[in-house]
Symmetry: none
Subunit: 240 residues, 4 copies
């Protein structure tokens, strides 16, 4: 019975789940390992060659298994991409979540997030950047749906962080403003990572990029607080 059929660990006779034997545990471990191997191979290839130009056979080769095995673990090629995507999304959320965790109310959270994203995540996972910001774009309805959900979640997290900032710095201009800031920050991260990592390989600059980005964000956020009129006109119109 294949793993991807979501009917794992069937117990035919309704037997109470026996505690796993040693060999069963090992088998489980090996399965997990194989799944990772395949996913890893697919991820690398998708990032390097592009999703469409990567054939299933190639993936199987790279993972040192047969095509059939790939299909034993994954429903189809799309499933491979979706799982890769979901994992990356999850990873990103955890990362940013941690960054925001102990900084509630402060803009420090954004600083942390920028730091961890540009200084750690990006240089370590360029292929995940390529995957989430390039290869997963416009592939199919299913992939797009996952992509949308991931981005929505990330935006939600950013919105939560922004909302908690309100306690410290005062209310924002409007709910939409929060929305806009969240999406903007995501867009910045996205384009900056892509720009300095994929298009130009300036890994070394990423730290500085992150710093500047974070300050840009800080300025932006502050500027969307329910500003007193005087400020407003100064800041945004810049003159009379």
């Amino acid at each position: 019975m294949s793993v991807n059929q979501a009917r794992k660990r069937r117990s035919p006779k309704g037997k109470p789940e026996a505690p796993l034997t040693r060999s069963a545990r090992r088998r489980l471990r090996e399965r997990e390992h194989r799944l990772e191997t395949i996913l890893g191979a697919a991820g690398s290839l998708f990032a390097e060659e592009g999703y469409h130009r990567t054939g299933m056979e190639r993936i199987a080769d790279e993972a040192e298994v047969s095509v059939g095995t790939v299909y034993f673990y994954f429903k189809n090629k799309e499933d491979l991409l979706v799982q890769l995507l979901d994992r990356t999304g999850y990873e990103l959320r955890s990362l940013l979540g941690d960054a925001f965790r102990h900084a509630d109310g402060t803009l420090e959270g954004f600083r942390n997030a920028g730091k961890v994203f540009f200084e750690e995540f990006c240089p370590r996972n360029p292929e995940k950047i390529a995957l989430i910001f390039r290869e997963s774009a416009g592939q199919s309805a299913v992939v797009e749906a996952h992509r949308k959900r991931i981005f929505a979640k990330l935006i939600d997290d950013l919105k939560a962080a922004l909302t908690s900032v309100e306690a410290n710095l005062g209310a924002f201009r409007s709910d939409l403003a929060i929305d806009v800031m969240a999406a903007s920050i995501l867009g910045m991260f996205e384009r900056l990572a892509y720009h300095y990592l994929i298009w130009q390989d300036r890994r070394g600059d990423l730290s500085a990029v992150g710093d500047d980005a974070v300050d840009f964000i800080a300025g932006g956020i502050r500027n969307l607080l329910q500003a007193d009129p005087a400020d407003e006109e100064n800041l945004s119109h810049g003159r009379d």
Copy 2:
């Protein structure tokens, strides 16, 4: 002889262009019209169905010509995408260029740019948004090269605008900061447009989105000026 080749035929010897007969002019006009029709059909289909899921036959059908004709006007499918991409890039640059034109030194230029992008370009050309920000991503080396060049140009324009701002507001922290701001702004526009136009059809909110985005940008920019120490610590570190 195909139009593509014909294009090359023109300049080499710098011959003085023979005056066109009336029928030649009409033919030229018709050719131009056909080219537009095909490009339009391709653009719509790429945006609606996705680049890969759109076959050449479908494009030909939509344009009411034969496949052969499509190949007469365009080298191949990729060429169709590239030309579409280039046009959109050009259009965007003109648009933003105009926005910045009479606002040198001021942040007003960014305000104009945001306005024109979110209030005019986006609602009128959702399929171009889809094309440049979705369909052209990760298709092939050639397409990616064009995409890169377009984005680079847009970033250059933004950098120029930022540089001219320095005269008014004082120098920026560093050259990299200008780079980062430019890419950030592009990323913001990109994600916001995609978010509010493609994923959620909130065309009506785009104007407000643009306003908030612009203010966010203004705040960001101001914050990356060579800030005097006092400010710096307040704004970005958020604590003493």
Copy 3:
């Protein structure tokens, strides 16, 4: 535009259908010819090797075209089988229809039908027998639906013939009886053809087989007339 998309002879600008030019006519003829060739190749192979064991490549080879061409004329493999099936069904109906045409009211119609089926159709088209009575069985819902429809039509024809017989020989026992006779006759033809043509190649005996079959049928039919009690008990219960 592919033939199988049922959008034949599109006239883009709503032009009044121009009378066909000579070359257009020739092209149409050639298309028809090619279609026949492919269908013929498929039919032979299905009958000889079996539907499932026949690959599309093999069919293309046999028809001396490329796989793509097969798909240009037919939607998929199933379509090939369905069209073959429908044609055979149509042919059979015409044949039997003719046989019954000038024999209304008489059992002569059944005699003609048997003659033409066993003496002409069978020996000339063994592969069609194999196709309709063997290869088309249990292949897919779509195929089965066509098969059902064809058999239903044939049964309807037989029922019509039987009904017209009632004028001469008196009413049948019941409507169901007519149904049963029709299906029975079809079943006889089916099994006899299969038996003497496919399983045993006794083409030479088919004529005699047909004679006996026809007499069997005649006897059967007569026995399902609303028999007067005396007969009834003699014929069917055979005693008491």
Copy 4:
């Protein structure tokens, strides 16, 4: 060692079978039970989904065993079908054999056969009807061979019954006639069962269908006796 091979192990040396221990007997019983379960699962699935569309894994699932186990009991997928087929054939022969047993010389045997087939076998075993008359058609040389043998046996039985009828009703026209009648009857049963059970679910009508079929058969048989000239010309030739 597989059951299939074990079966071959038995007779060669004619060793006196060692008396079985109790546990050996239980194992044998369980093995038999498992075999039945698998065969049952396969039968149902073949009838419902079709032979080709049923995968071995699905069969294993349904039988609540593993694929490996299926292969322990059966050589391959084809073997599953063949055994199912043979059993059904055997069952049918027994059934019809019984029906004919105590009716020698009379047409009563055919009446019994019809009754038992349409009233008992069909409504109780629709999936066996589907199997023998649909799924086993045109699958492979091996299956076809079994199918042929089964049909041949059934026809032989019918021929035997017909021959024994000759004692009562007089000689038939020819040996071929007997052949033809036998095949015809089989064909009738086949198509009628398929028609009223598979294509239309008119289980309730099967009894009446059987009655009419039987009378049809009776009439047919009588008509193929070495008819005296008078009858002959009226009934079947319908002309002088």
